[in-house]
């Protein structure tokens, strides 16, 4: 099979093909490596943080040898993946998008990587990201900004910027991202792929870069809903090494994926989410509701509690906990940080502790009120992801200049509330704006209802073909 044909397969398809021995893991890995080298570098998408070709091929050969002996490790056996460069693997450095961590080998391996290893996946590269995962646009002034595969002049979104670009460009079949304020869903939306932010506590953060203990989540970015579900099922579950990990047993999502949406109640909020949207984005997002209706869902309007403070309070918690997480290295490395990252952490150093505690207290009250008002009336809430089509890299490059806080707040209008509320949410492609850049809608559900989210998203995807469209590189 030609490299381009292998690259066009979805993660689920390539996993099936390897298991059925129609292709080998080495062939799939060689195809992915060839595309990563051709399109991932600084002169093209700039989405690559590190590549160890020899190690990737060694893993692929081992996977093929195991399969030849009848030993499939799991449902991702031999599938080449690459992840946001913040998942530590013992003995290997992860740069975390920074200027000064690229030579520091990790002492442990991230829980999410261990689980993907156990499912048989192989890790072939590290993908670029926003400096220390702090930023929704995708800019990284210290190590370089990835470019959107649909139009390289535009942002990828962040902070899982390289992951979104690489998956959308068919360089890898799927990737782990992280989401503290929208960092999986926003870049997934901007690059035309699927991104799932699980419920807080559903996927272990052990061995991943810490930004905000109260908000950080680990989740997949992939071309299709099924691909996201496959990665999510591999990584979800309790881990005693993460003090914020839930003991609830995760429900496998793949077996229920094709269940459809007949009778499912899809809620549309009557306030907040659409307030700052451009007319074009509103039209694109609302058009996706017609597909849900046609598939048998019941689309209903839902009054939601006033959540306007959730966005700025997510910024507060991120800045405060981020400042604490960076505390030991900040005085030694302050000059090595990019201006916007440093400004956000500096804001965290100035927030009074009482305000931080007040934000956490309101959060607990709000999630109760929100779930009661919303999820007693509907099964999933349907909202936008982005307020406008992704801007160009140049026009949105504000650094720490006056107005940066306003831009940063505006971009997370639709994503940060679900980090504040800790609810699962997913970004699903739903068309293209007039400038050729992707659009997406977002579904959110009650805590630990990832299975419902993925099933609803899959029903939409099955009825449309946005996920089959690939950018011309």
């Amino acid at each position: 099979m030609a490299d381009e044909t292998i690259a066009d397969l979805s993660l689920a398809e390539v996993a099936d093909a390897i298991r059925a021995k129609r292709i080998t893991s080495v062939e799939a890995t060689e195809a992915a490596l060839a595309r990563l080298k051709r399109f991932g570098g600084p002169d093209r998408l700039n989405c690559l943080a590190g590549l160890d070709e020899e190690d990737a091929l060694r893993q692929a050969k081992a996977a093929d040898a195991d399969l030849a002996k009848g030993r499939a490790r799991g449902f991702l056996h031999g599938v080449p993946l690459a992840h946001k460069d913040m998942y530590f693997r013992a003995g290997r450095p992860s740069g975390c998008g920074s200027r000064f961590l690229n030579d520091v080998p990790a002492r442990t391996t991230a829980a999410a990587l261990e689980r993907l290893d156990a499912a048989g996946a192989i890790e072939i590269a590290r993908l670029a990201m926003v400096e220390f995962a702090l930023g929704l646009t995708g800019h990284n002034v210290v190590v370089g900004t990835p470019r959107n595969p649909w139009n390289p002049a535009h942002i990828t979104g962040g902070s899982s910027s390289g992951a979104a670009a690489a998956v959308a460009a068919r360089l890898v079949y799927g990737a782990l991202g992280s989401d503290t304020g929208g960092s999986i869903r926003f870049p997934a939306a901007a690059c035309g792929i699927v991104g799932l932010k699980p419920t807080l506590g559903r996927v272990s953060r052990y061995g991943a870069l810490a930004l905000s203990f109260s908000l950080d989540t680990v989740g997949p970015l992939a071309r299709t809903v099924t691909d996201c579900a496959l990665i999510y099922d591999a990584i979800a579950g309790f881990d005693p090494r993460d003090p914020g990990s839930s003991r609830r047993a995760p429900e496998p999502t793949v077996p229920r994926l094709e269940g459809g949406v007949r009778g499912l109640r899809v809620g549309v909020p009557t306030s907040y989410f659409y307030d700052p949207l451009t007319p074009e984005m509103t039209k694109l997002v609302q058009a996706s509701l017609e597909v849900f209706r046609a598939e048998g869902a019941q689309v209903i309007e839902v009054d939601i509690p006033d959540i306007a403070a959730a966005n700025p309070l997510t910024l507060l918690i991120t800045a405060t906990e981020g400042a604490a997480a960076h505390g030991r290295q900040l005085p030694d490395h302050a000059r090595d940080y990019g201006p916007q990252t440093l400004a956000r952490l500096a804001a965290g150093l100035l927030v009074p502790a009482s305000a931080y505690i007040e934000a956490l207290a309101w959060r607990k009250a709000l999630v109760r009120a929100f779930c009661k008002a919303v999820f007693e009336r509907c099964d999933v809430l349907h909202v936008p992801v982005m307020v406008a089509s992704p801007p160009t890299i140049a026009e949105s490059d504000v650094g720490a200049n006056p107005g940066f806080a306003r831009q940063m707040t505006a971009m997370g209008h639709c994503t940060r509330p679900f980090n504040f509320l800790a609810l699962p949410s997913i970004s699903v492609p739903c068309g293209f704006a007039a400038n050729g850049l992707p659009a997406a809608f977002q579904l959110a559900a009650r805590p630990f209802a990832e299975s419902t989210l993925l099933r609803a998203s899959r029903a939409y995807e099955r009825a449309t073909d946005w996920h089959r469209q690939a950018p011309a590189l």
Binding site: L315, I357, R363, N401
Partner: protein
């Protein structure tokens, strides 16, 4: 008493914590962001009854709001 996010004390605080002089405008942006989000937190919490002002046990709250857990 001066609030730590007030511009006059913010520069001294940050320059001490970060160990370097900071550019004009940088401190004002950081302090402005800190002030805005802190004020939002105070306003949000003010609407809570006293018994709801406990921020602990968030994961327990989240788990209680999920669908019934399916046991094997």
């Amino acid at each position: 008493m001066t609030r730590p996010d007030a511009p006059d004390s913010a520069r001294a605080t940050l320059e001490k914590l970060l160990g370097m002089p900071l550019a004009e405008g940088f401190v004002e942006e950081a302090a402005g962001l800190a002030r805005a989000v802190a004020d939002t937190a105070r306003q949000a919490a003010a609407a809570l009854p006293p018994e709801a002002r406990d921020p602990t046990g968030f994961l327990d709250t989240l788990e209680s709001l999920g669908p019934p857990e399916k046991k094997e």
